[in-house]
């Protein structure tokens, strides 16, 4: 490749992008101005709060029949605080103004004074069966009163301790031996750097990822959709330059800007960290950090930032290349940003170890890697996997991009958005199936909602939450179909089909179930831990009544999941791609949707079968029936383990013998074959 051409193109792109104020502001403002501002603001607020607490006086009225013993204790604590208050690092210094109500004019209603916030706490003590019983009145709704209440309670703790000691001493015993028969203390062996790293590890990766995304977003839009909107794309295409040279130069430009903005972010955060360290040292808090110990971490971190910026640049460019204008590109970026942010939250999950599988999952791998190196956990193999996989994904995306830039439909296509969802409803034409963009949007939104709302509902309401999740699956798609005025029958495949389709379907799904059993057992053998988790959650759900369980686990998914996957998604894909691609994509998404490595293969295959059913019969109903049978079989086996064991012992075993495998596979294949023949018979009849 001619480097001079690429160099010239990069120079031009950089010049072009840097002269756009929006990009420069996005790149500079956040790290250089916003971070320090947020930080200084937070410091100010914090300082204001703590100084207001320092100056605080608490007025406490005491009315007790104890000859002033407790009042004495209160005043002692107060004077102790005043003397040592300024040295206290935690800043909890205050003055207690305590007075004995009895010595004063006792006509006042102190309860009322408390309500009117003239005093902060009111202590009443009286003899009750040979013991003093104290009541501490305070108002939890008033901040000062709540604090005063707590302080008084603390004083009571000490007061009681003193009294105990005295009593023990009076009985002629040694107080400390009785009260403290053992001694214990907590010792942190983490180095200061490790503690700092672990604090930063949860926030820093997320901040870095978001700042990189923000940094690359504008140049990515500018060099792709922006170029098209300004009409310079055709100009550049008249030049004797190959499209891959064009892509590579655009990509390098975007990645460079991403890296610059990420470095600015790191520098700004580093500056704040150093500043904080200075302040801490001034505050005589002798927790000093040896910043040089962070150097290897920082170096690996910078490498990770480089790799990630390649990845995120390529991905954002892929997304924005489909857009014809800034506005449209922004619409496309938003879902991408959501996904990146959600995956970025993985850094906040405690105890999640970066293993080799996770090291290959984009975004998550970078988050976890940075988190790991900040606590000085450095495994070079995993670092290599993370860096390599990011670069590999970036290269794949670039290949895809150069394909886009060879496609005339995209380069010269008419300027109509493929997202109908963002159009006014009155402008949308009636009929047809949802566009691919809309279908993707539905999928993304559904998954986000399942992750947040669905899982919350399941934790809180159990089986009812599961039903709610299914409703999300149904309703998101339905509302988009309604809004874009799509043909419900076409979109969901609500067509009649013959009895042969159903009969064939029954045979096929039972056959599939048997084959699947062999596979699941095999997978359980390969990944023992993950299947255990699956069975635990399943048995938890099973505590409900059988009819309800059957309804929620077998019937609802058969309707809702089928309508989303084999209905809307499949028919949108079918309109756009060739049949094998459409079927494969839906099956893969169905597998991914179950969000478990172990479930991926069996559910993916189920998706494949159900998709084929819709394709072969032209109707969604047989697929719904099959999905229902499949889930019902699982419910049945889990709910009636004894009956199943008596009838067909194979189904309740954890491990399968070789002969079992052959019997199951043989029977499964036979049933599946018979089903297929019945179905094909229908097909042939139709062709005639």
């Amino acid at each position: 490749m001619n480097t001079k051409i690429i160099r010239t193109l990069i120079k031009k792109e950089l010049l072009d992008v840097f002269r756009d104020k929006k990009t420069v502001i996005m790149m500079l403002v956040v790290p250089v101005i916003l971070y320090p501002l947020i930080f200084i603001g937070a410091m100010q607020v914090f300082a204001a709060i703590s100084s207001s607490m320092e100056k605080q006086d608490y007025r406490i009225a005491v009315d007790a029949e104890d000859d002033g013993a407790f009042l004495q204790a209160l005043l002692e604590i107060s004077s102790e605080k005043e003397n040592s208050g300024k040295d206290e690092a935690d800043g909890e210094s205050y003055t207690l103004i305590a007075y004995d109500v009895r010595s004063l004019d006792s006509n006042h209603d102190y309860m009322n004074k408390l309500r009117e916030e003239e005093i902060d706490a009111y202590v009443v003590g009286r003899m009750h069966k040979d013991k003093m019983l104290y009541d501490v009145y305070y108002m939890s709704s008033v901040t000062n009163s709540a604090y005063a209440g707590n302080i008084v309670m603390d004083v009571f703790e000490k007061f009681r301790e003193e009294m105990t000691k005295e009593k023990i001493w009076q009985a002629g015993l040694h107080a400390s031996e009785i009260l403290e028969p053992i001694l214990f203390e907590k010792q942190d062996i983490s180095t200061n750097e490790q503690s700092l790293g672990s604090i930063m590890g949860s926030v820093l990766p997320f901040m870095l990822i978001i700042s990189l995304l923000m940094g690359t977003m504008y140049p990515a839009i500018d060099t792709t959709a922006g170029e098209r909107e300004r009409g310079t794309l055709e100009t550049i295409l008249t030049l004797p330059v190959a499209s891959r040279q064009l892509i590579v130069s655009k990509f390098i430009t975007v990645a460079t800007i991403g890296i610059i903005s990420a470095l600015l972010n790191i520098l700004s955060m580093g500056g704040i960290a150093l500043y904080m360290q200075q302040i801490m040292e001034l505050g005589e808090n002798v927790q000093s950090f040896d910043m040089s110990r962070f150097i290897p971490a920082i170096l690996i971190g910078i490498l990770a930032v480089f790799a990630f910026s390649l990845f995120i640049s390529a991905i954002t460019m892929c997304v924005t290349s489909f857009a014809k204008s800034y506005k449209e590109a922004n619409n496309y970026i938003t879902p991408l940003m959501l996904v990146v942010m959600i995956v970025g939250y993985i850094g906040f999950i405690p105890n999640l170890e970066l293993n080799r599988t996770l090291a290959m999952i984009p975004v998550a791998n970078i988050c976890l890697l940075i988190k790991n190196i900040l606590v000085f956990k450095i495994d070079y193999m995993i670092i290599a996997i993370v860096l390599f996989s990011n670069i590999a994904y970036a290269m794949l995306a670039i290949l895809f991009l150069s394909k886009i830039y060879d496609s005339e439909a995209i380069l010269f296509g008419d300027a109509k958005s493929s997202f109908q969802l963002f159009e006014k409803r009155s402008n949308i034409q009636k009929g047809g199936v949802p566009s691919m963009s809309d279908a993707w949007f539905v999928m993304a939104l559904t998954i986000v909602l399942i992750l947040y709302v669905g899982s919350m509902m399941q934790i809180k309401y159990g089986i009812a939450g599961l039903f709610g999740t299914q409703m999300i699956i149904l309703l998101v798609a339905l509302s988009v179909v309604w809004y874009t005025k799509k043909d419900i029958r076409l979109t969901y495949g609500f067509h009649k089909t013959g009895a042969r389709s159903y009969l064939g379907g029954v045979f096929m799904i039972i056959g599939f179930y048997l084959i699947n059993m062999v596979m699941v057992t095999g997978l359980a053998y390969l990944f023992p831990e993950s299947t255990e988790n699956v069975s635990i959650t399943f048995s938890e759900i099973m505590d409900g009544n059988i009819v309800g369980v059957f309804f929620v686990i077998a019937v609802t998914p058969a309707i809702c999941e089928e309508m989303l996957f084999r209905g809307m998604l499949f028919h949108s894909m079918k309109a756009r791609y060739r049949m094998p691609v459409a079927i494969g994509a839906v099956a893969t998404l169905f597998g991914l949707y179950h969000m478990s490595l172990v479930k991926f293969i069996p559910t993916g295959l189920l998706g494949l079968l159900l998709c084929y059913m819709v394709y072969a019969t032209g109707s969604i109903y047989p697929a719904m029936m099959m999905h229902c049978i499949n889930n019902a079989l699982s419910v049945f086996i889990s709910c009636y383990p004894k009956q199943v064991e008596a009838l067909l012992p194979v189904f309740s075993q954890d491990t399968l013998s070789l002969s079992d495998v052959f019997v199951l596979l043989g029977a499964g294949l036979l049933l599946f074959g018979v089903g297929l023949m019945i179905l094909q018979g229908k097909h042939r009849k139709k062709q005639r």
Binding site: K4, I5, T8, L9, K11, K12, L15, D16, R19, D20, R230, G231, T232, E234, T235, L237, T238, L239, P240, V241, A242, E408, F412, Q429, G431, G432, V433, L490, A575
Partner: protein, 259 residues
């Protein structure tokens, strides 16, 4: 004697459009057009909106790949058909070839010169030369987004001239311009013709085409309905202006369609 410079042989371009109910409809925007342009010749392409002019010119300048047929140009005694090599010898101008607003005219010309493989020194000389001819002098270092319409049009012509191409393909270059600006473009075309360059251009302005073109090609629904010198076309239809010729031919074509 003059030789053929641009040669296009039975070009077809098919677009697939998604119509209602997901039925795909194939449309031939250009349907079997062959043409040639000689050295020192201006050929005008005339046609109504949607006749396929832009698609034809995009294929000729190698922005689009024809579904069928091929395009080649002759430079000296070499016949070139490789996309990138052909682009090297073409100056293409259309309403969609906007300039980078954030660059100055000089920066743009310099960058383009490098991309066309011209040495830095030669580019500098060429820019001075073009600046003189098109009188870009007082705005050549301003950002393009700050220029007036006429200045931008001159900058666009400068863009086409930087690599001194043998062939100019201009898609409605005078559309929406005032008399002065369109005059500058017509001057430019005449001047380049004098220098033996080949120019293929599309327009809606019949009078302009009549006075300027050595040959006229009229297209309708992706097909050539007539071609020849303006005089021959007028003779053929018995009209005294090109405007009448065009209307007459369209009507004839319409009648032929019905049969």
């Amino acid at each position: 004697m003059s030789e053929n410079r641009i040669m296009a042989d039975s070009l077809v371009k098919t677009f697939t459009k998604n119509e209602k109910k997901n039925k795909k409809v194939e449309i031939n925007a250009v349907d079997g057009i062959s043409l040639s342009v000689k050295e020192g010749e201006i050929v005008g392409i005339l046609g109504a909106n949607g006749a396929g002019k832009t698609t034809l010119l995009r294929m000729l300048s190698k922005l689009m790949k024809p579904t069928e047929g091929c395009v080649s140009i002759r430079i000296g005694d070499r016949e070139i058909s490789d996309d990138i090599e052909v682009k090297r010898h073409i100056g293409y101008l259309s309403n969609n070839t906007k300039l980078y607003g954030r660059l100055s005219c000089r920066e743009l010309l310099k960058m383009l010169g490098t991309l066309y493989g011209i040495s830095d020194e030669a580019v500098g000389k060429k820019i001075e030369e073009i600046s003189e001819v098109l009188s870009l002098g007082n705005f050549i270092d301003n950002r393009i987004e700050k220029l007036s319409t006429g200045q931008t049009q001159r900058a666009s012509i400068a863009r086409c001239l930087i690599h001194d191409p043998e062939v100019y393909i201009l898609d409605e270059p005078t559309l929406g311009l005032d008399i002065l600006s369109s005059g500058a473009i017509i001057e430019f075309m005449k001047r380049e013709r004098e220098r033996g360059k080949s120019i293929l251009y599309s327009t809606h302005y019949m009078e302009e085409a009549e006075s300027l073109c050595d040959k006229i090609i009229m297209i309708h629904k992706g097909k050539i309905i007539s071609e020849g010198t303006p005089a021959a076309l007028k003779e053929q239809t018995g009209k005294d202006a090109l405007r009448g010729v065009f209307a007459e031919l369209i009507v004839r074509e319409g009648i032929a369609d019905e049969h």
